[in-house]
Symmetry: C2
Subunit: 115 residues, 2 copies
DNA sequence: GTGCAACCTGACACCGATGTCAGGTGCAAG
DNA sequence: CTTGCACCTGACATCGGTGTCAGGTTGCAC
């Protein structure tokens, strides 16, 4: 498929897909007139990229991490370290968010009876 | 206290404190020669602001929300709505992060025996 | 073969919180 | 009084992912 279809099927902008490619996260064949051509697997991959971005990983980190998501065997000690760091960061983020969730809960609980 | 002390006691840059004031999150008296003067309460307030920022709230939203954290009574229906929206957003963030945490767990579990 | 939609590259703009610099003033100690 | 540090304002820079525009090419449909 071409980039427009991939964009639509993944809920992503064309701009972002080109950016992901530029950052090395996504590859494409080029067809005759230099237009990007993607296979089905790309859809999954883009979803994964977006999830990792949404979790706060940078494209650079994703570039490190992606290969061993698809092929776990490639994992090197250095990569494992990156993974552990990112997991720790995510844990910290979750903890912070849960703290704020509780705070908001308290504040909301004291609201005038809109309930 | 003056701004330098507040910065140090809250682990914040002077720059950020001025920014918070500019965004309406923090107030200060001005003393004789136009220098900001803070009371003890400011320390707590800055900590709260930073926590909310870290939870992903914008200064604008914090400006909405802060008054009813200190004085729950002020909460208006509109404010309550903002609070509910932010809580929902935080819940979604937590869920997404937990998903990625699980993903990373899986990947890490398949690592070569660095353990 | 003509036209329009989709694509290409490259560049610049944006957002939001923060860093940083410049040029000037306040304040306390020597 | 002088020196040096803390403070003041205002402006511009940064980062990363994305929007958007310009100017040009491809590809499909009529």
């Amino acid at each position: 498929m071409r980039i427009g279809e991939l964009a639509e099927r993944t809920g992503t902008s064309v701009r972002s897909l080109r950016y992901y490619e530029q950052r090395g996260l996504l590859r494409s064949e080029r067809s005759s007139g230099n237009q990007r051509e993607y296979d089905e697997v790309a859809v999954e991959r883009v979803h994964l990229i977006r999830s990792l971005l949404a979790a706060g990983l940078s494209t650079e980190t994703i570039d490190d991490v992606l290969p061993c998501v698809s092929e776990p065997a490639i994992q090197t000690p250095r990569l494992t370290r990156t993974l552990l760091e990112e997991r720790a960061r995510i844990d910290a983020d979750i903890a912070r968010l849960e703290g704020m969730r509780r705070l908001l809960d308290d504040v909301i609980a004291q609201a005038p009876p809109v309930v």
